[in-house]
Symmetry: C2
């Protein structure tokens, strides 16, 4: 990775962690620069669109990161129900690793910005689509009607996103783990 | 209602609507005062603890409002699965009434403040408990083991909260309605 790309990646990662803990509006440029140890000029070089453009990059980075985890779960599991349980464990492990202090940055940005920033709303929708797509494809491969497969996959993404919020409020990963025994019902035939 | 109580209720309702659209940090005291047409002195009379104390009141008000809708659904439905579908329709109708511009203020405050404001985290957890409690009680009355009933009820609250977020990103109530046909699976025997 070139030095400029490394700086950009550091800025995105710092913003992602801050959005996960405290949301979009509470995260100032100053704090992002401090956490990423990036100079201000370098920030505007990589993100001429400012904080909103950075937030699009954060959503894209998170979409890719969780998407990779989901794809690995689907690749390693004998069936989609098992993959769903692996995804729950992946998220529960991440939640516990931060003592439930960090949630999903896509949800955070959506709740704060969907009504005023169409670019962020669209990026969030694309992140959700990127996650539910492979799940729906697997459900189809297991014999579900395409429309039903899509609806089921989106319901699972909803349930995971909601459980991540409840985990923050409860201070433990129980709300995520509630979903594990339900996976055969959510994703089964 | 006394005049002072009316002012307090107006402040809480204005803040609730603002948190629903743009979250906690983006909502300044000035905007709350303007929307509620309340004088600053009156704000500090009712909320000596400032914006954080107001946010606790917002969460409590929203917990009560959605809780009332949920209780009505449970009272009017022949079974818990039908009640779950009524709850989905209630939320979908509210989502559509704001053109998907307003979500759940409890989720918004949780994602922004759970890591730094224990009072808000606790209020959010109590809101979720207030919602899942009657659902779990009904599941128990329908024969489910208490622990399983609680876990199922919490999973439904997670799914609804997550779907509310996805609705913001998609710009329609489809993600909520994905949950309707799943209610027999989530809440059925």
């Amino acid at each position: 990775m070139k030095k400029g790309d490394q700086t950009r990646a550091r800025i995105v990662e710092a913003a992602r962690q801050l959005f996960e803990r405290q949301g979009y509006a509470a995260t100032g440029l100053q704090e992002i620069l401090k956490e990423s140890q990036a100079p201000r000029g370098s920030f505007y070089f990589h993100f001429p669109g400012g904080k909103e453009a950075l937030a699009v990059a954060v959503i894209e980075a998170h979409a890719e990161a969780f998407g990779a985890g989901l794809q690995a779960a689907l690749a390693n599991a004998p069936d989609v129900v098992t993959a769903g349980r692996l995804a729950v464990e992946l998220l529960a492990g991440q939640m516990e690793a931060t003592a439930c202090q960090a949630g999903c940055p896509v949800s955070a940005v959506t709740l704060e910005m969907a009504s005023t920033a169409p670019a962020l709303r669209d990026a969030a929708r694309e992140a959700f689509e990127a996650w539910l797509g492979p799940v729906a494809a697997r459900l189809e491969a297991e014999g579900l009607d395409p429309e039903l497969a899509r609806s089921r996959a989106r319901a699972v993404v909803s349930a995971l996103e909601g459980a991540l919020i409840l985990c923050r409020a409860y201070g433990h990963a129980g709300p995520l783990r509630d979903l594990s025994p339900l996976m055969p019902r959510l994703l089964g035939a």
